[in-house]
Symmetry: C2
Subunit: 132 residues, 2 copies
DNA sequence: CTGAGTGCAAACAGTTTGCATTACT
DNA sequence: AGTAATGCAAACTGTTTGCACTCAG
């Protein structure tokens, strides 16, 4: 999963979707910016690079990728991770923890849903805010 | 923590906030409807009961409760729980799992943030949707 | 009595949709 | 050529804010 851009584009094509310039640009930007990106951030970055893509197309592409499960568990780099957000400054950082993943897997096998994904978010004060 | 309404109202008073009718109504409704309620659902229920409360007051009350940490880890019934949402029908149900909580506690003690809360959301297909 | 709190309506922010136009295949 | 996909702008949904009025303390 080192080349998510190529993978995503191949999937799109395989499903009969056209590989338009705006679509590719959004996929590429998604890979550059990482997960938990807002539509506006994508638009802004594209704008900075002289590539104008309408917000509607961004939303439509994001929905498409979501439907094809191309953005579910898989971040650009392919690793699975979660978030810690600072109550004070809003800064978001990420973490991974296999102990936690195992607890979730065990739990998933016990519930009556067919679990196919999960999110964990921790809240607290970041080191920077804490030290003032 | 069996009387969350009373507790919340006492806290508000203790902090110098007035116990107005709209404020009380929102707190009461929050207790009735449980967690993960939208502002609109609160407004609708109040409307059904003949109590008209402006949306602005609802948002302001929710923010107030959040600032006082009265809605953080503590649902109306006082138990801490998480959510499973169905990818297909959107239905949300809740669960608690001490194994998971322990994993999170261990993790929290290892990171450099001062963790004071967390959310976990599982995604999947609910039994009903699965069986059709 | 007096200012904290309210309701209203206008302002905002984020997302969705209809439609005429563009551009892959 | 034909139609999927786009951009624009208007429509929506959800949330926030300014201000004159109200009511709890």
């Amino acid at each position: 999963m080192t080349d998510w851009v190529g993978h995503a584009q191949r999937e799109l094509e395989r499903e009969g979707y056209r590989l338009s310039a705006p679509r590719s640009a959004v996929v590429q930007t998604l890979a550059d910016l990482g997960c938990s990106v807002t539509a506006k951030e994508i638009a802004d970055r594209l704008h900075d690079r002289g590539q104008e893509v309408g917000v509607a197309s961004i939303y439509r592409t994001l929905e498409l990728l979501d439907n094809l499960r191309l953005t579910r568990r898989v971040g650009p780099s392919g690793e699975h991770h979660h978030h810690i957000v600072c109550d004070t400054c809003g800064q978001v950082s990420t973490f991974e923890d296999s102990d936690l993943e195992r607890a979730i897997e065990r739990l998933a096998s016990r519930v009556d849903y067919a679990i196919d994904g999960h999110d964990v978010t921790l809240r607290g004060e970041c080191p920077t805010c804490r030290s003032r």
